[in-house]
Symmetry: D2
Subunit: 394 residues, 4 copies
C-alpha cells in the first residue's frame, strides 16, 4: 500500500533552500516515516533561477509568488526559507490557509511578530508549526538533552555558549542583506545567538529569565558594490568612488544570563572571531555532571560523570554515531560520520512522523517554544540599549 | 539542452549498495558534471529485497541475475558492490560487454584475479575502470596529496597507518561471510589494510616495495547462528548445542614496509582494537613537513610545515571545508562539515567528469593502479606465512 | 667571585608558601641570574609548623611574627603568601622598612588598599614591587604577548576568558577562610577572575574600561566543622547539630567587558564548573590572527595566522618547549614539558634579574600595574550590586 | 630524630646528570621518605665543568675518576649517567664495591653485558639495583598499569607504541657520540625504542616473545665539526673541506612483536619524524578496555571502558593530577600539572623508600627486569640483519 504523502511547498532558494531541499530529498532514503515527503513546488522571485533550482533538486513545479503557492490546494506544508523580514507574514498567511508551517530561524523580527505568529498557530486546527532550530537534531546534542532529562547532570550551575564565525572581518566585505536591519532584523544576534540560546534552552529544559547584553558593530559602514556614492563614499584603489552603506546590525553580541533554576550563563555570538569558521560551542556544568559540544566536531559529545570514582573521572568523548544514539542508526556504521546537512534530514523525519501520527505537539520547537527564544533575543537587544539587566518574561 | 546521461547498473544491495545509491542520487545535487547519472537498475539475488531497495533509492528497474544486467544494452556502467569473491568475474564480464566498471574494494581475491582484471581493462576500448578507494576523495586527504605533490613534505621518511575497528571482539559475534575466506578472501587485511595501503600510495605517490607482515586470528571459531552442531559445537546458556564454524580469515594484520623512495612504514589493520570504531589514521613524516589525518575527524587535516620559523612551528589543524579545499566548495559554507557518504559522492562526480571528458586515465585508481595495492596485500599474506620479508614486485 | 645575594623573607607557609619556596630553591638550578636568592627566613604564626616547613624547604631561620621579620636588617625582600586581608598592611610596612616586596595575588581587598599600596611603592626608593600573577610567566602566554606586540593579531575584537574549577560543589564542603569575605575579600572573583583579567590585560596590552558583572553564591551556608550550632545549624546524619556559617563570598562571577581599543570580552570565574579542575582558558581574536591557551595544557599555545593562504589556514598548536620560546630553554629538551611550579621559578628569575640590573620597572606587574587589575575587580563588584555597567577608571 | 641518610654519588654531568641532580634535590621537598638523599659527590672527567656543575646543584664534593668515587666509603649509591658504553663496567664495579646502583637506560650495550650485570646484581648482598626507565613513574602510566592489573583491560590484543623525535633530520647535524655505535651502542633503538618496549612490558605485565624489525639509517655520514677531511669529506659553502664521519647507528627502527599472552604489537622509534619533538605514545587495546597515552601530554591518561553502556562509551580523558592518582598528591592541587622532571623525582622517592624499607625487590625495574627489555632490543637487532622473525628468549 502506498504511503500517505505530504506535499511540500518551499519558499526561498538560497542557502537554506538548498539545505531544506536536500532534507526533503534524503529523508525517505534513511527514515521509514509514516508519511512520505513530496517535493511539490519551489518558489523564488526570479523565475529562471527558481526553475534551475527546481530542476537541480527535483521540485515538481515552480512558483514566483509565495501567495500563489499558499493558495494552491495541493500543498500541505509551507517551508519558509526567506530572509527574516518575511517570516511572520508568510507563516501567518500559510496558517490561515490551513497549511502546516516549517519556518527557518530566527522565527521573526521582534516580539510583536512572534506574538502574532503564536496567535495564528493557536487559531489553527490540526496544523503543525515548527522552526528549524536544526541543532536540536544533532545526535550528540539530542543525547545531551537526554542525559540532562535523566538527571545525569543534576542541578545546572553554568551554561557557557558561543557561536564564533569570522566571515566579515574584512572591512571591504560588502553590505549584504544580512547586514541590513530592515531585512535581517539583527546580525549575529538573530543569526547565531538565536541558535545557542535555543540550544541552551533545549538541553537544560530551563528558561532564561534575565539578561545583560552588549551588541557591537565593529565596522560601521561597508561598500555596497556600486561605484558612485550614496549616503557616504570612500575612494578605492582605482580612484573611483565606492558607495558605502551603514551597517545597521550587530557584528557581535555578548550576554550574561540567569536561568529559571538558579544557574547562570554566558553567551557570545560574533562574525569577528578570527580563527573560527562555524564555532558553535556549548558547555553545561551541573551538580552531578557536565556536557560539552562543538558543532565543527558535531559527531562527538563530551560527557563528564561526577559519580564515577575519582581516579577514573574525566571527560568521556562519545562518538554519537552508533545505533545507541539518536538518529545515528539511520545512516552508516559506527564511526562513519555524518555532517551538517543531516540535522535537517533528521528534523524532516520528525516533521513527517509528527504529522503522520497526528501528534503535532510532539514536534518541537513549535511556535510557542520558539517565541521564548525570541523573547530572550528581544530582552538582550533592550538591555544593550539601556545598559542594565532586563527580564525576558519567560 | 539536456545533459548526456550515464545509465548505472548497481549490483549488490547491502552496505555498499546503500552508499553507492546515495552517491548516484546526490551527485547531481551538488556537482555540475558534464554527464548526468541515471539510476537505471539495481540487481540483487532476492527479488523482494531488491525491489524494496530500488523503491527506497529510486532505481528505475530491478534485476536478480547480474548476467542479465550486464547484457542489457541500456546500461552504461556496472557498479559492483557484491562480496569480494564475485568482483573479478563480474568486472571482466562487464568489461567484455563494453561497460564502464566501478568496483568496490578490495579489487579482488588474489593476484591471479588482479592480473586478469587488468588484462580485461587493457583489452577494453574507451571504457573506464575504477575501484572505490573512496578515502582518496576525502577533501583533507586530497589536500594532503596536493601538499606532497607540491613538495611541501619533501623526501618521505615515515608512513604510519592504522585502521582500527572493534566490532568482532565478542567471541559470540557470529561467523558472517566477512569471516569466511572463501567469500571474503581475507579479513581485516582486504577490508581495512587495503584502504590504508591505498591511502599511503596515493598520498606519497610512492610504491611499497617490500613488506614483513603478521596476520592473526584471535578468535578461531564462532557460532554460525544455527543450533545443531557442524564441524564443531559448543554448549550455550540454554543448554542447546551451538553450531560453530572456523574463522578462516585474519582478525588483525600488522606490517612493516619499505617504500620505493627509501622511506619506511608501519601498517596495522584490526577488528580487535577496543576503543576504536572506525579509526583509520595516517601520518606521514618528510624532510620538510608532515601530515596527519584521522577518518573519524575527516573534515580536518593536520599539517606541519618545518619551513616556518621555530618559535611558531606546530601542527596546523586545517578545516578542509572551504572553497579553497578539494570538493568542499560543492557543499556547505566553511565549517559546516560533511561526512562519510560524501566521499562516494565525490568519486561519482569524478567518474562522471572523466567519462564526460572521455579522459578515462584521469580516473584513479583504475584497475592498473588498484592492482598495485593488491600486490602489497598479496606479499603481506605470503610474508605472514614465511616469517620473512617479501618483495611486492612494485 | 661570589654572586651578590638577595636574602628572601617569606611570610605564609601554606599552598603559596610551598610554591614560592620551590621557586626560590630552583631558580638557581636553571637560571644564571646576576643575583642569587638565599632562603633567609620563613615566617608562620604556628612555631612548630613553621619550623617543619623551614626544615623541608631549607629556610635558614624561622619567625612567627611578620613584624619581626620585616625589622630584620638581613632581609632584602619580603615575599607575602598570607591570606588576602594581610597583603596591604604587610606590603606597606615592608616598603617603609626599605624592603623589596613580592606579593601574592590578588594584590589586596579593595581599591582603598590598592591606592595605599601604590602610594607606598611610589614613596619607596630603589625598591622593587611585584605581584605574583605567575601566569604571565607561562612560556606559551609570554609568547602570546610577544605575538600581539609584534602585530601578528592586529586589532583585538574579542577576549574570551574563563577560569573554571569545581572543588566546592559539594554543599558539605566546609566554610574555610577562602569562603569568608572578611579574610578573602571575595571568592572566585579575587582568586580566579583576577588571574584571567590580568592575563587579558597582559596579552593584549589593553586596559578594560567598562564591565557588567554578576556574582553568584550557589551554596549560601556551609558547615564550619564544629558540632553545636552558631548562627544557624542543621542536623547531620548521626543526629548531631552541625554548626553552619554563612558563605560571604561569591562562588562564581560572570562579566562582560569593553576594552580600551574597541574590543569586547567575556570573563567567567567559578568553583562550580563540574568537569573542570583548573580550567583557566583564554582566547583572543584579532583582525590578523588569534591565540588560544588552556592552563591544564600549559606547554601549548594555539595560534591562528590569518595571513596564511586559505588552503592552509588553521590553528597551529605550538609546543612552547624549545630554545625558541621564552624561559623554556632553561629547562629540558624540546617536548619535555614543564609544569605549574615553573611559572613561579620564571618569575623568581625575573625578580632576581631586575634587582641585579637595578631596573625595577622592568619587573611587571608592579603595584601600579596590578592596581589596574584590582580596579577591574572593584568595578565588577559594584556592577553586580547595581545591575548596571560600571567604568573601571582605567 | 634525624632521618637516616643515603649518600649519592653521581657519575655524568650532562643532560641526565642534570635530571638526576634535580631529582635528588627535589625529592625531599615533596616526599616524606624513610631515608633522606644527600648529594654527596658528583663525578665528571673535566674538573672545572664538574666543579661548576656541583656548585649549581649543591653536590658536596667533586670527583673526576669514577673509580675513586666508587672507592669512597662515604658513598651509598652510585647513580650512573654516563654514555651507554660505560654502564656495565661502572655498574659491576659499584656492585662489587657494595654500593646500591641506579643506572640510566638503556641498561647496557648488548646481552653479554646485561648478563654480567645481572650476575653481579645476584652476587650482591642487600643492594638495590635499578634502571631509570623513568616513564614508569609518570602518574598516568602508573595508573594505566594499575588498571591493567585490576583486570579493567582484560586480555591484551594490541600494543601500539611509537617514540617519535625529529632533531637530526638536518643532514648537517653533526656526528655526535649518540650517532657512534662504539659509544652509544645503537641510535633510536636503545635511546627511544628501549623506553616504549619497557613501557609496554610494564603496563601489560607481559613479555615480548618474538620480533621482526627493520633498522634504518637515512643519513649515512655527517660532519664531525672539523675542517680537514678524514675518512670522507665534502665541500662546504665557504669552500673548505668538511670532515665527515660515518653514522654507525640507526636513525629509526620499526618492529612487529608477539606478546606472551597472544597479543601482537607494533613499535617504532625514530629521530626523523618531522612534526614530533618528543612523541612517546602508547595505546593498548584489550578485550574489556583500552588505554592511550602521549608523553608530551603526560598529565593525561585516556581510558576506554567497554563495560559502560553503549550510549555512553568513549575515551575518558583523565587528568592524573589529583590525590587519587599515583605520586600526584605529593605535588600541587588537581589540574596544576607537573612535567618531565617529576618522573625522576618519583623514581628517587621509590628508591629511597625501597632502601629505607630494606625491600629491594620492590624497586622495579631492577637489573633482572631491565635485562628483558635488553633482550628484546637484542632480538630486534638480529632480526633486522637476518630479515626474519627472532625469538627474544623471554
Amino acid at each position: 500500500m502506498a504511503k500517505k504523502e505530504l506535499r511540500v511547498g518551499l519558499i526561498g532558494t538560497q542557502f537554506m533552500g538548498k539545505a531544506h531541499s536536500n532534507a526533503w530529498s534524503q529523508v525517505g532514503h534513511f527514515f521509514n516515516t509514516p508519511v512520505k515527503a513530496v517535493k511539490a513546488a519551489a518558489c523564488g522571485r526570479n523565475a529562471e533561477r527558481a526553475k534551475d533550482f527546481a530542476d537541480t533538486w527535483g521540485w515538481q513545479s515552480v512558483e514566483t509568488d509565495w501567495r500563489k503557492l499558499i493558495a494552491r490546494p495541493d500543498i500541505d506544508l509551507i517551508d519558509i526559507c526567506t530572509p527574516n523580514n518575511n517570516h511572520a507574514e508568510i507563516a501567518i498567511a500559510a496558517l490561515e490557509a490551513g497549511k502546516h508551517v516549517a519556518c527557518e530561524k530566527p522565527m521573526c523580527m521582534n516580539m510583536d511578530e512572534a506574538k502574532r505568529m503564536v496567535a495564528a498557530a493557536h487559531a489553527a486546527k490540526n496544523q503543525l508549526t515548527t522552526v528549524w532550530y536544526n541543532y536540536r537534531r544533532v545526535p550528540a546534542l539530542t543525547l545531551a538533552r537526554q542525559l540532562v532529562q535523566e538527571g545525569r547532570i543534576g542541578k545546572v550551575f553554568h551554561v557557557r555558549a558561543v557561536y564564533l564565525q569570522s566571515w566579515i572581518i574584512d572591512p571591504n566585505f560588502p553590505a549584504i542583506w544580512r547586514l541590513n536591519a530592515d531585512v535581517a532584523g539583527s546580525g549575529s544576534h538573530g543569526d547565531l545567538n538565536a541558535h545557542i540560546i535555543d540550544a541552551a534552552r533545549y538541553i537544560t529544559g530551563e528558561e532564561i529569565t534575565d539578561v545583560s547584553a552588549h551588541m557591537e558593530t565593529f565596522v560601521k559602514e561597508r561598500p555596497t558594490g556600486n561605484m558612485v556614492g550614496g549616503l557616504s563614499a570612500s575612494t578605492n584603489q582605482s580612484g573611483g568612488k565606492v558607495e558605502m552603506a551603514k551597517v545597521t546590525v550587530d557584528d557581535a553580541v555578548i550576554m550574561l544570563a540567569k536561568l529559571a533554576g538558579g544557574g547562570i550563563g554566558t553567551f557570545e555570538a560574533t562574525r569577528f572571531a578570527q580563527g573560527n569558521k562555524n564555532g558553535s560551542k556549548i558547555e553545561i556544568n551541573g551538580e552531578k555532571g557536565a556536557i560539552k559540544f562543538e558543532f565543527e566536531d558535531m559527531n562527538w559529545l563530551e560527557f563528564y560523570d561526577a559519580s564515577v570514582k575519582g581516579r577514573e573521572q574525566g571527560w568521556v568523548k562519545i562518538s554519537a554515531t552508533t545505533g545507541d544514539h539518536p538518529y545515528a542508526g539511520a545512516y552508516w556504521p559506527a564511526g562513519h560520520i555524518i555532517g551538517y546537512e543531516h540535522t535537517f534530514i533528521n528534523q524532516a523525519s520528525d516533521i513527517l512522523t509528527a504529522i503522520g501520527d497526528g501528534n503535532f505537539k510532539k514536534m518541537q520547537p513549535d511556535f510557542d517554544d520558539a517565541a521564548k527564544t525570541q523573547a530572550v533575543l528581544n530582552a538582550a537587544t533592550e538591555s544593550s540599549k539601556s545598559r542594565t539587566w532586563k527580564s525576558t518574561g519567560c
